[in-house]
Symmetry: C2
Subunit: 162 residues, 2 copies
C-alpha cells in the first residue's frame, strides 16, 4: 500500500507544482491575470482550478493518514494563487513523505471510515484506496491540468506524469 500511494502522490504533485511554474510564466509573458486561470472551471457547477488542486492534495494527505491510522492533518488556508497552491503541495508532501513505509503494514485490510457524497462509508483500506482515494486524486489533478490546457497553457502529458 505504501508503494502504490506515497511515491505516486509525490511524483504527480511535484509534477503539478512544475506545471504551475509554467502557467505562472505563461500568464506573466502574455500579461494574463493569473486569477483568470485560478478561478476558471470546465462548467459552472464544477470546482474552480484552485479547488481542484486543493482537492487532489486533500485526497493524498487524507488517504495516507487513514491508511496508517493517523489523525487527518489540517492545514491552514493557503492563498488562491500559484504560490499559495505550491505551499499547499509542499505541506501535503511534507506529511505524505514523513509517513514511513512500515506504517502501512496491514493497511489493505484496515477498516476505513470516511464520508463520501455526504454519507458515512466503511470499507477496507484497499477498496477505499482503489475506489475512492486514488480515482479522486487523479480526477482532480487531471481536471486541474485540463483547465490550464483549455486556457492555452503550453503543457503536455509528460508534464502531467512528471
Amino acid at each position: 500500500m505504501f508503494q502504490i500511494s506515497v511515491p505516486v502522490f509525490d511524483r504527480r504533485l511535484k509534477a503539478h507544482a512544475a506545471i504551475m511554474d509554467k502557467a505562472a510564466a505563461h500568464a506573466e509573458a502574455r500579461k494574463i491575470e493569473p486569477q483568470a486561470f485560478m478561478m476558471d472551471r470546465l462548467y459552472p457547477d464544477m470546482f474552480p482550478y484552485w479547488l481542484q488542486v486543493q482537492s487532489a492534495c486533500d485526497h493524498a494527505k487524507n488517504s495516507v493518514a487513514r491508511l496508517t491510522g493517523q489523525q487527518l492533518p489540517i492545514f491552514e488556508e493557503t492563498d488562491k494563487t500559484f504560490a499559495g497552491l505550491k505551499t499547499r503541495i509542499d505541506r501535503t508532501l511534507g506529511f505524505v513523505n514523513s509517513t514511513a513505509a512500515e506504517a502501512f503494514a496491514g493497511a489493505d485490510e484496515r477498516t476505513i471510515v470516511f464520508t463520501q457524497n455526504g454519507r458515512e462509508r466503511q470499507t477496507t483500506g484497499m477498496d477505499y484506496f482503489q475506489n475512492s482515494a486514488l480515482p479522486n486524486f487523479y480526477f482532480h489533478l487531471t481536471t486541474a491540468y485540463g483547465i490550464l490546457r483549455h486556457n492555452g497553457v503550453e503543457i503536455g502529458k509528460r508534464d502531467f506524469i512528471g
Copy 2:
C-alpha cells in the same frame, strides 16, 4: 499487481460506459447531434472525446498484456459513436477480465519495454504501471469525462467512480 489493475480497469470502464448512456440520452432529449460530443476537445491540439476513451481502453489492455507477458491484443476499428466506443470497452474488458490473477505473479519486477513519447523505454512492471499505465488511464478517462461535462451532460463524480 492484479488487484491494483484488473478490478480498477473493470469498474472505471463500466462506469464510463454508463456515462455514455447518459450522454446519448442527453443528446437525444435535446436534439443534439452526438458527434458534437464525440469530436469535441478541450483545446485544439488535444485528443477528441472518442480518442480519449479509446486511449484509456488501450492503456488498460496494453498494461494487462505487458504485465502478464501476453501479445498486445489488436482490436479492429470501432465506430466513433457511443455504441462503437461501448463495443471497444466491452472488448477491452473481455481481454482484461480473461487474464487470471495468477498470470500477474512477479509482474512488479518483470522487465517492460514500451514506447513513450516516441522513444523506447525499459523499466520494471511496477514503475511502468505506476508512472505510465495507470496515470495515462486516469488522464484519458478523466479528460473524456471533462469533455462531456464541459458540454453540459448531467453527470457527477460518482458516475466517474462507478
